[in-house]
């Protein structure tokens, strides 16, 4: 992972130094491939492979009429591009080579400015090329003659017939490649390869092309008996408008001539006449085909001709929200057009919208799509409309119909700023009279003028729109305002404003200059005037200027949408959200979506990098970023539906942003950034540090994986969907943080561990609870704690030797509390068998217990516990025990969590210090612990109930405080953990260094002074032994007989330690000495439970590191020899944890001095 991410980073920097800056701005820095795809409107499967400067020669026969003087045909200089399955030529000077700079690939000229097929040229699917010949030219130039399948499709049947009439004229063009011979050869090789691959698609091409009306149109008269291809509902229900007035016939003739000369549908060559013919309006029957061709949707259809039918078949009979919404609108889509008053028209509309909603479930169905699709269906077949709708949503008006409609809102902002720029006086007026322009203009854009203007005119706008791209919408909109400027300046409110425009649209067919003397001028309609103003006066509105403005406004628009979405989401949260403050809800929302967003980003980028790497293995594949540029921001709320479900990993990451305990102790990847910074604004900060996302957990710390997290997740996942919604998270959090009610929290914690919900937690569950408690506290307790009592007690017990000992840390005490907790749980558990009173099976060393009287602790006796305990079973774990870690401020439990190991198998290591307690109870406690031991016996099933649990918790001040304040307070919803650990760059490291400090201090406290050192050592030793006992108890729970043996062994081992406890001065020797004993003992435990053992062994390295640290910490004042042994352990096994260990060591050395 580490390798990959650094590689990825480097690669990114090499590929494009600016990329890091605008990762979130794909529009500003689109990939070469996407520019290429946009320029030629090719499907996203196409990439620019080769390009070469070339001159296109169209022989005179193919040239449009006129200009007879140039008998050698028409020549166009431009660039020839080859992709996987297309050969494209354009006179616009653009380059999509890897080596090309951003400006040469994005500085487009021509009508479309890169937003569509511009200039003169062609876009041939390779399968439409019938033959390529290398020409022998005198001037040593590299020339190719290309003949296409144009019009050939109907000839194979009747080769004889073709001699009767010159039915089909072969389309043959010449291309002269300019450039070094090598590159020409290379291009030709590529072309050859592509052509070979394309052969198989010829049949598919024929099928697709057969649905084009041009094929029928150009067919010789005698063969027209076959029914024409479907050219929309207009063939059945008439096309809107008066054909005579539209001069449909004349247009058709012109087009027929153009197509005859320049190829039809996919083999069409764009010459200047082409653009002119489009500007005057397409003839009805060719309209659908030309829309399909100019928008590029025909290439999608060519790629997957049966997709539409397949989609319908695949989802037949299924239901969805989109379908419900579609049904509501079917009867109200262009209802004035007769075709949509019939079942035929409605049916087509239903099928196209439904199929699309299945194909693109993110968009589904948006009102206005019904109107646009209805318009399309008048001129084209269902399949054609389906693909054109896809092209619209994906490329032409991206984001318009998304669930947040960010594209629509963005373009409104862009439109407003264009108005401000081009018509400042009008803009001023709008602002002054508080008229919101977008309330007027939004429907223009959203429905592509279809329901704003009379249909005939709207279609004329669409004709140009499909060729020239979305800038047309802006040009027309601006022209509308410009033309009506005078009147609009008189309009004082929205109402007047709207009515001016309404009446303007109603009179588009009238003369623009009715009073003019000049009859020609009088003949100019208002619509013609509109087109002239739009494309002449506003010719400065280009694809790139629109793109630029979109970039500029994008963030503001998205932020608006997101704040609205957030407001709505929070308001719609259920009643339990009321338990949290608005700020907390808001922070939860941000964190929830922040995590999801970042995860998606990382996912995407990692995937892209993998794809890129896979690709780069293939030589000569030119593009570096095959990603669809828009996808880069996927996941951002404002861009539409992103996932709103949080899986377990995301949940871990989410918690790691809130709670210290949820951060892994063993980060696999170094952190580069503080989470605090990430918090500032996850969208923005994200873009500035793309590198961090390449680590699996991004900028944040690596989250821990512990059974407790799993339990929490399952608990919050109320509908068992293996994913959390925001509602789940809020409800879950509300239960913990909502009421600040200790009983509630205790109950909650109990329920978390009550797997079957029967109100009982069994032995295993009790151990799990204590593990969870340790897990949660291993980075220290938060909230308000009152240490006073326990300190006193503590001093009380060892008063003689500890007078100068600093007060015991809360964490140390907490460990004691937990061990007492376990003991009490077992003691007060409800057995299913009568309790054993078997006494004196073993001598307990230093266990004191005052629990003789249950009532005593029901009241909540203070800190009576002082047990050191360890549940660890592995020897490594035991070794960790000799690190009496403890920091005054933060806890420092050296618990290690291996994120891979199943938490249930993981043990929490712990060390502790004992607190103490009235001695008079000692005797009792012995008996009690005996009983507890027996309680571990698997043959004595037992459980605790909630009241017992509550009682046990309340019996301990620290536990009580934990549930009252620490636990709820450990979720830092508002400030995150960034602030609490801001002093150090990483909270993980913080913890480790704290650990070191803690250990150092504790040890320093223990060993540094003359008296206290040994004393603490003794304590430590005793703790070790106590832990061993507890550990043994736990193991015994599984095999009682062996347990007994272990106990005996323990006793033997424990004896010296106990003595050491008494003998302060010699303790320092005993302290380390206890370790081997403990190790030996646990080895036995491990032996009994091989499974656990094996899992634990995976943690060994880490543990060794910790051990080393602990060992080092202990060195001061004790034996050097021992310390060095531990140190070497660190070197051997602690490599992964090198940094933390190092930190620990340094601290240890400090104390040394």
């Amino acid at each position: 992972m580490l390798n990959l991410s650094s590689f990825v980073q480097k690669a990114q920097q090499l590929l494009d130094p600016t990329q890091g800056l605008n990762l979130s701005d794909p529009d500003k820095n689109p990939s070469k491939a996407s520019l290429f795809q946009n320029q030629f409107r090719l499907p996203s499967s196409q990439h620019p492979l080769y390009e070469i400067t070339a001159e296109l020669t169209i022989p005179p026969a193919n040239a449009t009429q006129g200009d007879k003087d140039r008998d050698r045909g028409y020549h166009y200089a431009g660039k020839l591009h080859l992709s996987e399955s297309f050969l494209c030529f354009s006179t616009t000077p653009s380059s999509f080579l890897q080596s090309a700079s951003t400006s040469t690939s994005s500085a487009f000229t021509g009508q479309t400015h890169g937003g569509g097929p511009s200039g003169n040229g062609f876009t041939f699917p390779l399968c439409s090329i019938r033959r390529v010949e290398r020409l022998h030219s005198q001037n040593f130039q590299f020339a190719l003659a290309i003949s296409t399948w144009n019009g050939i499709q109907d000839t194979p049947k009747d080769k004889d017939a073709s001699k009767d009439k010159p039915v089909v004229k072969e389309q043959r063009i010449t291309l002269q490649l300019a450039g070094p011979r090598v590159s020409c050869e290379r291009f030709c090789d590529g072309l050859k390869k592509g052509l070979r691959a394309g052969v198989g698609n010829v049949a598919r091409l024929r099928k697709v092309v057969a649905e084009c009306y041009s094929e029928y149109l150009l067919r010789p008269e005698d063969k027209k008996n076959a029914s024409p291809p479907d050219a929309g509902l207009g063939m059945m229900f008439r096309y809107p408008g008066d054909p005579k007035k539209l001069r449909d016939r004349a247009k058709m003739r012109l087009w027929a001539e153009y197509l005859r000369d320049n190829g039809r549908n996919v083999t069409l060559i764009r010459q200047p006449t082409f653009h002119k013919l489009i500007r005057v309006g397409l003839p009805n029957r060719l309209r659908g085909e030309m829309w399909e061709l100019t928008s590029g949707s025909i290439y999608l259809r060519l790629e997957h001709p049966t997709l539409y039918a397949e989609t319908l078949a695949k989802f037949a009979g299924m239901e969805s929200l989109a379908i419900d919404e579609i049904e509501k609108d079917l009867n109200r889509s262009l209802p004035e057009y007769p075709g949509f008053q019939s079942e035929e028209g409605i049916g087509r509309l239903r099928r196209v919208l439904t199929a699309y909603s299945w194909t693109n479930t993110d968009v589904g169905y948006c009102q206005a799509m019904n109107i646009v699709v209805a318009a399309l269906l008048i001129y084209m077949s269902e399949a054609q409309a389906y693909f054109l709708l896809t092209t619209l949503c994906d490329r032409l008006v991206p984001g318009y119909y998304s669930t947040t409609m960010y594209g629509t809102l963005l373009d409104q902002k862009v439109f407003e700023s264009l108005v401000e720029k081009t018509m400042p006086i009008l803009w001023e007026h709008l602002v002054r009279s508080d008229v919101q322009l977008s309330v007027v203009s939004l429907p223009w854009f959203l429905s592509l003028y279809v329901n704003s203007m009379p249909l005939v005119f709207a279609f004329r706008v669409l004709d140009v729109f499909f060729v020239e791209g979305p800038k047309v919408l802006f040009q027309v909109g601006l022209a509308i305002l410009r033309i009506n400027g005078e009147e609009l300046l008189d309009a004082a409110d929205d109402g007047a404003f709207i009515s001016v425009l309404k009446s303007y649209f109603a009179r588009l067919d009238e003369s623009a200059h009715p009073k003019s003397e000049n009859p020609k001028l009088r003949a100019v309609t208002r619509f013609q005037e509109l087109m002239v103003v739009a494309f002449k006066e506003f010719s400065g509105i280009t694809h790139s200027s629109i793109t630029e403005l979109r970039m500029k406004n994008k963030d503001a628009v998205l932020n608006n949408i997101e704040s609205f979405a957030k407001r709505t989401a929070i308001r719609n949260l259920g009643p339990d959200s009321k338990l949290l403050s608005t700020e907390e809800l808001s922070a939860l929302y941000d964190r929830f979506y922040g995590v999801l967003y970042e995860r998606q980003q990382r996912d995407l980028i990692l995937k892209q990098e993998l794809a890129r790497r896979a690709k780069s293995a293939r030589p000569r594949v030119g593009d570096s970023a095959n990603n669809h540029a828009e996808a880069v921001e996927k996941g951002r709320v404002g861009l539409g539906p992103s996932t709103s479900l949080m899986d377990y990993d995301a949940f871990r990451e989410f918690l790691a942003g809130l709670s210290k305990w949820a951060i892994s102790d063993t980060p696999a990847t170094p952190r580069r950034d503080t989470f605090a910074e990430a918090d500032k604004g996850f969208y923005n900060s994200f873009s500035r540090r793309p590198d961090t996302m390449l680590s699996p957990w991004g900028a944040g710390p690596e989250p821990a994986d512990h059974e407790f997290l799993q339990r929490l997740f399952v608990k919050w996942d109320v509908d068992s969907s293996a994913a959390l919604t925001l509602q789940n998270v809020v409800s879950g959090m509300a239960r913990i943080k909502g009421k600040r009610d200790i009983m509630g929290t205790i109950t909650y914690f109990f329920e978390l561990h009550d797997d079957d919900g029967d109100g009982k937690v069994d032995r295993e569950g009790i151990l799990r609870m204590s593990e969870a408690l340790l897990f949660l506290s291993r980075r220290g307790l938060e909230g308000t704690l009152s240490p006073s009592n326990s300190t006193l007690t503590l001093n009380g017990i060892d008063g003689n030797s500890r007078d100068d000992m600093p007060e015991q840390t809360v964490s140390e005490r907490f460990l004691g509390s937990v061990s007492a907790f376990i003991r009490r749980c077992f003691e007060y558990a409800d057995p299913d068998h009568p309790r054993y009173q078997g006494a004196g099976r073993e001598e307990r060393m230093g266990e004191e217990d005052q629990l003789a009287n249950p009532d005593a602790f029901a009241i909540g006796d203070d800190e009576d516990e002082d047990e050191d305990e360890d549940e660890d079973e592995g020897e490594d774990d035991l070794l960790t025990m000799d690190s009496p870690t403890g920091s005054p401020k933060v806890a420092k439990k050296s618990e290690t969590v291996d994120s891979q190991a199943p938490p249930s198998l993981r043990l929490d290591s712990m060390t502790t210090s004992s607190s103490n307690d009235p001695f008079d109870r000692r005797r009792v406690s012995k008996a009690q612990s005996e009983r507890a031991n027996i309680a571990l016996d698997p043959s004595n099933p037992l459980h605790i109930t909630l009241p017992t649990f509550r009682m046990v918790v309340l019996a301990d001040e620290l536990l009580e405080q934990f549930f009252e304040s620490s636990f709820p307070a450990s979720f830092h919803i508002l400030e995150g953990i960034g602030s609490s650990s801001s002093a150090t760059p990483s909270s993980t490291l913080t913890t480790f260094s704290n650990l070191g400090i803690g250990a150092g201090r504790a040890v320093g406290a223990a060993f540094g002074g003359a008296a206290p050192g040994p004393q603490a050592g003794g304590r430590g030793l005793r703790g070790v032994l106590d832990n061993i006992v507890t550990d043994g108890m736990r193991v015994a729970a599984e095999v009682r007989r062996r347990m007994d043996e272990a106990q005996k062994e323990l006793e033997r081992n424990a004896l010296p330690g106990q003595r050491g406890d008494d003998d302060d001065e010699e303790d320092d020797e005993d302290a380390p000495g206890g370790v081997p004993a403990a190790a030996g003992k646990t080895a036995g435990g491990a032996y009994r439970d091989p499974e656990r053992r094996s899992v634990r062994s995976s943690d060994r390295d880490l543990l060794a590191g910790l051990d080393a640290e602990a060992g080092d910490a202990m060195v001061p004042g004790t034996r050097v020899g021992r310390a060095s042994a531990d140190g070497s352990a660190a070197e051997n096994g602690g490599g992964a944890a090198a940094l933390p260990v190092g930190t620990g060591r340094v601290v240890g050395v400090e104390f040394d001095g």
Binding site: E325, R332, C366, A492, N560, F564, R567, T568
Partner: protein, 231 residues
Amino acid sequence: MSDLAGAPRPSSSVKLVLLGEAAVGKSSLVLRFVNNDFQENKEPTIGAAFLTQKCNLPTRTIKFEIWDTAGQERFASLAPMYYRNAQAALVVYDLTKPTSLVKAKHWVAELQRQASPGIVIALVGNKLDLTNDSGDGEGTDANDSGDARRVSTEEAKTYAEEESLLFFETSAKSGYNVTEVFTAIANAIPETSLKTARGAGASAAAASRAEEQRVNLNGPRDPNAKEGCAC
């Protein structure tokens, strides 16, 4: 505003916005109010539609500038654009569709938090003609297919009272109660918030009138749909 000079009574504009789930009949209510018309297949509103209609009250004339918004969920993020500065809002639900009331409640909450303070909100349950107790005597039709009502008057009314909303059940199809909604809103607009406010005392009277009217309208149903208000 423009006809202030010639009008016998003070005239003022009130910006009113219609909100509610898709296809609950927002546009139809407006169409009924403005043109006293009903269309079975009304094109969905894209973004928003703007219409105006006057409403004559005894003391003044209110010119409603009505913003009829699109109901589809995804258009919701456009709504702030339309309810900006609105003095009144009609939150519409379909009383045959409980989810639409939920959505209506969301809108009410949104308005209360985000719209201009003092906005007059009316909760309107539309499509009364589909229920048995349709006010226009077409109940027999409904009886055949059973009562389509799924939101009880009580439930919605209780909610409206809690939130201090005006409350009506209407039928845009029959016209039942439609004009009354607008009249009640006109009356409920505090005079002080009107652009040409005159005499602060009138507003209290207007408010109490609105209150009366509301009570009346929920009493025995008037079988005859009223022809538009005095416009």
